[in-house]
């Protein structure tokens, strides 16, 4: 047994850190939501070849093992580097196309993704299809040589910025099992009939509704085979799982900032860091962070062995998202009355912690709510019977 990092992993980590320090600069605090998206930064990553860090070499990627992909993700997250312009293409679209895309799709998109020239948004969730994603009602019906799309996607991150949507559509409304009638489409966001409308979320994030009104797309929009969308969705998750594990590094950074705050801030004549209640809470968070990080590496290692760690990956998602909420809560408690300050001169850390307190609601809900994930662990991981 060996829990250490290899010299290659350590070297890669240092290389990424040096790059980020140089590119983001010492002033980049990553504290406002508007720093989440940057085509410029994405292109800089592309120049390093890092957008395909985990892609097979024959498709232009670096072919780095999963543990190194996690190292990469950790450093990106820790530095709060803008990822919105490439994260979906890098982790979901590219690997899926490599696995199941047509030759034309691979030619059309893979190089552009690697060059940071194309932004994707994820069109899965609908008003009536959240946890029950298979209840997808956005239809794509064949009319001559084109598919006609009608429907609505909701809570679509970065739809207002994206060039393309990677989306689920119902191509067979008569399928006896509803998930068997779903296809995956790539749709040009400039296609006539698409309306994008910004949603007002608590955290001022790039979140949108997207309306499809008789949107005509060519047959080449079908990713891989027709009516295989559900299958593609479920197997496309390995890179995403590894990258998600990097979130702990982001939380670690926030944690270190509040520890520093606790050390420097006096209340009732003493540093906050001497308050026994705060000490216990911070110590618990420190342990939770170590647990989370350790488990992210376990998932990466399991993927590297060729196993598909359903339960472990679901658990990492649950654990990290709930840790984020605990962290945000403790951070707010430490800030006391200053906590709810939103922005402006008086807000500590430019109001980042208040923003994080709101944003921390997201991860336990999105990407598969934690309730669903727990059921997945129970049924798929522990073999408990379905109701």
């Amino acid at each position: 047994m060996d829990f250490g990092f290899t010299p290659e992993e350590e070297a890669f980590r240092q290389e990424i850190r040096d790059f980020l320090r140089k590119e983001l600069g010492p002033e980049h605090k990553g504290r406002t939501p508007y720093e989440l998206f940057s085509r410029d930064f994405t292109r800089k990553l592309a120049e390093k070849g890092w957008l395909g860090v985990g892609w097979p070499k024959e498709y232009g990627g670096l072919g780095r093992p999963y543990t190194q992909q996690l190292v990469y993700s950790e450093e990106m997250m820790r530095s709060r580097a803008p990822a919105g312009a490439h994260i979906l293409a890098q982790n979901m679209v590219g690997p899926s196309l490599i696995r199941v895309g047509t030759e034309e799709q691979k030619k059309e998109f893979l190089t552009k993704i690697l060059k940071g020239e194309v932004v994707f948004c994820l069109g899965y969730t609908e008003p009536n299809a959240g946890s029950d994603l298979a209840s997808c009602q956005t239809t794509a019906l064949l009319d001559g040589d084109e598919y006609v799309i009608n429907g609505q996607k909701m809570f679509t991150s970065f739809a207002g910025q994206a060039d393309y949507a990677w989306m689920t559509v119902r191509t067979d409304p008569d399928a006896p099992k509803k998930h068997r009638g779903i296809s995956m489409f790539i749709v040009d966001m400039k296609t006539p009939g698409i309306t994008v409308s910004e949603l007002d979320t608590m955290w001022d994030y790039y979140n949108y509704e997207v309306f499809f009104d008789n949107v005509r797309v060519p047959k080449s929009a079908v990713v891989g085979e027709l009516n295989q969308g559900w299958h593609y969705l479920t197997v496309a998750l390995d890179h995403e799982r590894v990258f998600m594990g990097g979130c702990v590094a982001q939380h670690q950074r926030l944690f270190e900032e509040i520890v520093q705050y606790a050390r420097e801030t006096h209340r009732n004549g003493k540093p906050l860091s001497e308050d026994p209640v705060i000490r216990q809470r911070l110590a618990q968070l420190a342990i939770d962070l170590e647990i989370g990080r350790l488990f992210a590496y376990r998932v990466a290692w399991l993927l590297g062995k060729g196993t598909i760690p359903f339960a472990e990956a679901s658990m990492t998602k649950i654990f990290t998202s709930e840790l984020e909420r605990r962290l945000a809560n403790t951070a707010m408690q430490i800030l006391g009355l200053y906590g709810p300050l939103d922005r402006g001169d008086r807000a500590p850390y430019d109001g980042y912690i208040g923003w994080e307190y709101k944003f921390s609601l997201m991860q336990a809900v999105g990407g598969g709510s934690n309730e669903i994930e727990r059921i997945l662990i129970a049924i798929a991981g522990l073999g408990l019977p379905r109701p």
């Binding site: 342990i287 350790l294 339960a311 662990i377 522990l382 408990l384 019977p385 379905r386 109701p387």
Partner: protein
């Protein structure tokens, strides 16, 4: 990074699991709870024949010279089967400090006996002041010629009533820093002046009060140097904490498995209760607790075996696993419903042991404070 056990470790694990399932059924565990000695000499002999007591001892003392990680794997199986008896205290609290700090004569005298299963040992550290740190040591040892005279009361000493030798932490000098002035002695448990009383505990783990009244011990039985015994204790505690964590992880794994079996079988409202969402959530949470605990336990044990573990690492492990064992067993009882409250059911055996494991060598609050200090708070 390689998170697999070696082939030899897998073999040890499987062999230990099979042996303990056969030789240490819950009927025996229950019997031994009521039994005054608290262990089965027959089972003890079989374990000695397998070389388990000397697993990590050098071959020259009759040991198998395996590594600390191998002991951890063995202890995990013992925890899974809640093996009663003095294996933990003899091997971890007795043989390890003698191995690391004993003179050649002491090692030659005691270690082969331990390896053969001919000697039961334990460590007397805690006292009625109920402190976990070095200030807990108030029992005095005063020099008198070639001997020392020990006076004081030790509490929560595991299996002292059956021990052949007890390593006693005494205070030989008052100092501003309580870590200074502590001396260890390997005391013959049958020395005149020692009185034992087994204290009833929830974990039925034979914790004893040991009263020392003018107990004589020879200078040659001093373990380590005069006044400099605390570092030996601290090192033993690190090893003991991870060993206890290994036992706890085995125990909580068994509790989870028991629960999964139960909820698949138990039918109410015409369906297995394992189909109800709440039960599924409980099981997912229990599994999370088990998986994270196992992961952390192996990591920190590995770090300790490589000489890389910091005090913060070990404190974090004990704090987390304390909570995990209690959490899993409490949820397990809940999933079992009323039957889980019955003494006839096995799950209660684990629930009680989770509490015992919680407080020994430091509870979570104590260890979280260590983590806080290590963080520089």
């Amino acid at each position: 990074m390689n998170l697999d056990l070696t082939e030899e470790q897998e073999m040890l694990k499987t062999m230990a699991k099979d042996f303990l399932i056969k030789e240490c059924p819950k009927t025996l565990v229950r019997e031994l709870e009521e039994n005054e000695k608290g262990y089965s000499p027959e089972l003890w002999g079989k374990m000695a024949d397998l070389g388990w007591m000397g697993l990590v001892l050098p071959e020259e003392y009759g040991g198998q010279e395996m590594g600390y990680m191998d002991l951890i794997i063995l202890l995990q199986e013992m925890g899974r089967n809640i093996l009663p008896g003095p294996f933990f205290c003899t091997v971890v609290l007795g043989s390890l400090p003698i191995l690391s700090a004993g003179t050649d004569e002491q090692k030659k005298e005691f270690l082969p006996k331990i390896a053969k299963g001919d000697m039961i040992a334990t460590m007397a550290l805690y006292e009625p002041n109920v402190r976990y740190d070095s200030a807990c040591v108030e029992t005095k040892a005063v020099a008198q010629g070639d001997n020392f005279i020990i006076n004081g009361t030790k509490l929560f000493v595991e299996n002292a009533h059956i021990a052949d030798y007890i390593i006693v932490a005494t205070r030989t000098k008052e100092a501003a820093n309580p870590e200074e002035g502590i001396t260890l002695f390997i005391v013959d448990a049958k020395s005149p002046g020692i009185k034992y009383e087994v204290i009833p505990t929830i974990g039925m783990d034979k914790l004893c009060e040991v009263v020392f009244e003018n107990v004589t011990v020879s200078k040659s039985n001093m373990l380590g140097e005069l006044d400099k015994g605390w570092p030996i204790v601290a090192k033993t505690l690190d090893q003991a904490i991870m060993a206890k964590c290994a036992e706890s992880v085995g125990g909580l794994e068994a509790s989870l498995d028991m629960t999964l079996d139960y909820v698949k079988e138990r039918v109410q409202y015409k369906r297995p209760i394992g189909t109800f969402q709440v039960i599924q959530h409980y099981c997912a949470n229990m599994w999370t607790s088990a998986a994270t605990s196992r992961n952390l336990m192996y990591k920190v044990s590995w770090m300790l075996s490589e000489g890389m573990a910091t005090p913060g690492d070990i404190a974090a492990a004990k704090a987390w696993i304390n909570q995990a064992y209690k959490f899993v067993t409490e949820r397990a009882v809940q999933c079992h419903g009323a039957i889980g409250l019955s003494r006839d059911h096995d799950i209660g055996l684990y629930y009680r042991r989770a509490k015992a494991a919680d407080v020994v060598f430091g509870d979570s609050d104590y260890h979280k404070e260590i983590v806080a200090q290590q963080m520089g708070l």
